[in-house]
């Protein structure tokens, strides 16, 4: 596909073409430095490179073509929005851009300055008109996971139609009932947007597709427990990021191929790093594309990342939806129960996360954990202290990092991560 076709498409989407060119240039350079410079990558990484190089090109074209054929595009920012239902309504769900500093000045005109980088980023991307995904959406589905997002969606709704799902804040029975009703409310909404009716058969199909995606990500996680690490943390993070915007069935197929290759590598004792390289688990806030700062700093400091305990990581795929239901009601119950297992820091209490982080660190044979909170993210900053204590009790060292998307603290981060790695050697 030629660049001219893309430019026309971006024009139709009313992107700010100059600013968008600037973004693509930075993204390309970043990707070159952080990804393409890696040694001994998998052949399967070609898919990652291709998807990323076409992130604003071919994938958008696919979405536009689907739209022309009558399908709807649903944008999200959270793992609570049930993709099963979106698929059942024959719509396409994509995770929206929220991982780079963009349109910050504009965003700060409608949301407070002391808002986390992720929220500022999605508002900024919209206001600066540089995200073709955001511009392609027929509807954006928000959720009430934290106060920052909750209030930001009010402002976002002024810019683009935004529908908000109420995520409960506890795991009580009443909370489960609330979430069930929210799932039903979303079904009604998506049926209205798409004009399609969700039947048991369609929802079963949606569940199968979403579960298949989760299974392949679970498979990847299991393989990463091998030593030496068979894949870099950067590539694994990218896989998790891509899982939010590529076609789910294609993604699953490609990732199963990549996992086959990993199995061969592991059988041959091959890894991307030396066996003695310190293994680290990332835990905390999600890292949306192209937020690769911390993984890059970490893997440049002589360590390898073996897992991501985050929404763009295990929180997205650890739990499957029970597939035994046959009626719509049974499936909705199964969906609600699955989603309520998510150990998001917005819940109180959220003790299961402490157990999950510790167990994951052990399963992945991690030597230490980097807890990552975005500046101004109250829920995860609070939990950083709890996670630290829980890990300490198990003799697993942890370092707590608080940062954002800017590059001004890269040198300080390097020092801290290098020092942390030194303590593990």
């Amino acid at each position: 596909m030629t660049q001219q076709t893309y430019r026309k498409m971006w024009e139709t989407l009313d992107l700010d073409l100059d600013a968008h060119d600037g973004l693509l240039e930075v993204l390309g350079k970043f990707y070159g430095d952080i990804y393409l410079s890696q040694q001994g990558r998998l052949a399967g990484a070609e898919y990652l490179d291709f998807v990323l190089s076409e992130i604003h090109g071919l994938r958008i074209l696919e979405l536009r073509e689907a739209q022309a054929a009558g399908r709807k595009i649903v944008g999200t920012f959270c793992v609570f929005v049930p993709e099963e239902i979106t698929i059942a309504a024959d719509a396409i769900q994509v995770g929206l851009c929220a991982g780079a500093e963009a349109g910050t000045e504009q965003a700060e005109q409608i949301i407070p300055r002391n808002t986390c980088a992720l929220i500022k980023s999605f508002v900024g991307f919209k206001m600066a008109k540089i995200c073709p995904f955001t511009e392609s959406c027929d509807i954006v589905i928000g959720e009430t996971t934290c106060d920052g997002k909750k209030k930001a969606y009010e402002a976002f709704n002024e810019l683009t139609p935004t529908y908000v799902m109420e995520v409960p804040q506890t795991k009580s029975k009443a909370a489960l009932e609330l979430w069930k009703s929210e799932i039903r409310r979303y079904i009604a909404k998506i049926e209205e947007v798409t004009g399609n009716t969700i039947t048991a058969e369609k929802l079963k199909h949606g569940i199968e597709i979403a579960n298949a995606k989760r299974r392949v990500l679970q498979r990847l996680t299991k393989l990463r427990a091998a030593s030496p690490a068979p894949i870099s943390g950067r590539d694994a993070l990218l896989i998790n990021q891509i899982s939010f915007y590529d076609d789910p069935e294609r993604f699953t197929t490609k990732m199963n191929e990549l996992c086959d290759e990993l199995e061969t590598r592991i059988a041959g004792g091959q890894g991307v790093v030396d066996k003695n390289t310190p293994r680290l688990l990332l835990s905390g806030c999600p890292m949306a594309v192209p937020n690769w700062k911390l993984p890059y700093v970490t893997e440049s400091a002589g360590a390898v990342i073996v897992g991501e305990e985050s929404c763009i990581g295990t929180r997205n795929f650890r739990d499957l939806v029970d597939e035994s239901g046959t009626t719509l009601d049974e499936m909705i119950d199964a969906l609600a129960e699955r989603y309520m297992q998510i150990d998001c820091a917005c819940f109180t209490p959220n003790t299961e996360r402490l157990e999950n982080v510790t167990a994951l660190a052990k399963d992945m044979r991690a030597d230490g954990v980097i807890h990552y909170s975005l500046l101004f993210c109250q829920p995860y900053s609070h939990e950083a202290m709890k996670v630290d204590k829980a890990l300490q009790d198990q003799g697993i060292p942890m370092i707590s990092i608080e940062t954002d998307y800017s590059m001004e603290d890269v040198e300080q981060l390097k020092t801290r991560i290098e020092a942390f790695v030194e303590t593990l050697e």
Partner: protein, 254 residues
């Protein structure tokens, strides 16, 4: 002859070891031309190995490539360097506090190994830079600022953590008629309070070795002793600002 070089934001230090013992040390301001400053620091030194630490640790490699291309160069972080340096002077050390030009580090150590550490992030609150900046408001050289503050007897609360806001706060306290010595004391207290919290987060153990240029400030030292109470033993090496460079050199022996 092993050389340890610590390039910090305000100053750079060199320590030379012979048979594991420091035989020579030197310091220069970092300035905006750290490369030439470091070259001058190494003037007349013919090391067999060099270890760099501090924010400018990567610069050390560059300089050695030019001066002594055959000489092996490595780097360690200032965390590890300060721990090794502190333990060299005080083998019984269980915690280290380093307040340098631009950052503050607190660490707990055991048998010379760092167990846990904390560093201030991007902001210079509670560091040597804070003292230098606020001393400027009083038109007093930073070396004399501690002694000046010790003349105070009643410190007003300074709550601003930001260096710039602290200046604003100090100015408004002056306008309210507070004695300048007292305001200076208040500024020192605010550093110690911040430091105490950081030490608390790494699990304050005793004895605590205080390193870095700010350990030479008598007011910070006296307030910190008071703050820690009788239970914690506070130890200060003769040349606290040389600890990083010494530790870097020692790391080559390990």
């Amino acid at each position: 002859m092993i050389a340890g070089i610590d390039i910090g934001s305000r100053s750079m230090e060199l320590v030379v070891l012979e048979n594991g013992t420091p035989v020579h040390s030197r310091t220069l301001p970092t300035t905006f031309d750290p490369l030439s400053q470091c070259e001058e620091l190494l003037d007349g030194i013919k090391p067999s190995a060099v270890v760099g630490t501090g924010y400018g640790r990567e610069l050390v490699k560059k300089i050695l490539e030019r001066l002594h291309p055959q000489c092996p160069v490595s780097t360690v972080t200032e965390i590890k360097a300060h721990a090794l340096g502190a333990v060299h002077w005080f083998p019984e050390a269980r915690a280290v506090l380093d307040i340098g030009g631009q950052d503050t580090k607190a660490m707990s150590i055991k048998d010379g190994r760092v167990l846990k550490f904390e560093m201030n992030d991007r902001c210079a609150a509670g560091t040597g830079k804070f003292l230098e900046y606020t001393a400027g408001v009083f038109q007093i050289p930073v070396d004399e600022f501690g002694a000046y503050a010790l003349k105070g007897d009643k410190a007003p609360d300074i709550s601003a953590m930001c260096t710039v806001f602290a200046e604003t706060e100090a100015t408004s306290l002056m306008a309210q008629g507070h004695r300048p010595e007292n305001i200076a004391l208040g500024l020192h207290k605010s550093i110690v309070k911040r430091t105490r919290n950081m030490l608390g987060r790494v699990g304050l153990s005793s004895p605590l070795v205080f390193t870095g240029g700010v350990a030479k400030n008598p007011c910070v030292l006296s307030l910190l002793k008071k703050e820690l109470g009788a239970k914690a033993r506070l130890l200060v090496p003769d040349e606290p600002d040389m600890t990083g460079a010494l530790g870097a050199a020692l790391s080559a022996l390990a």
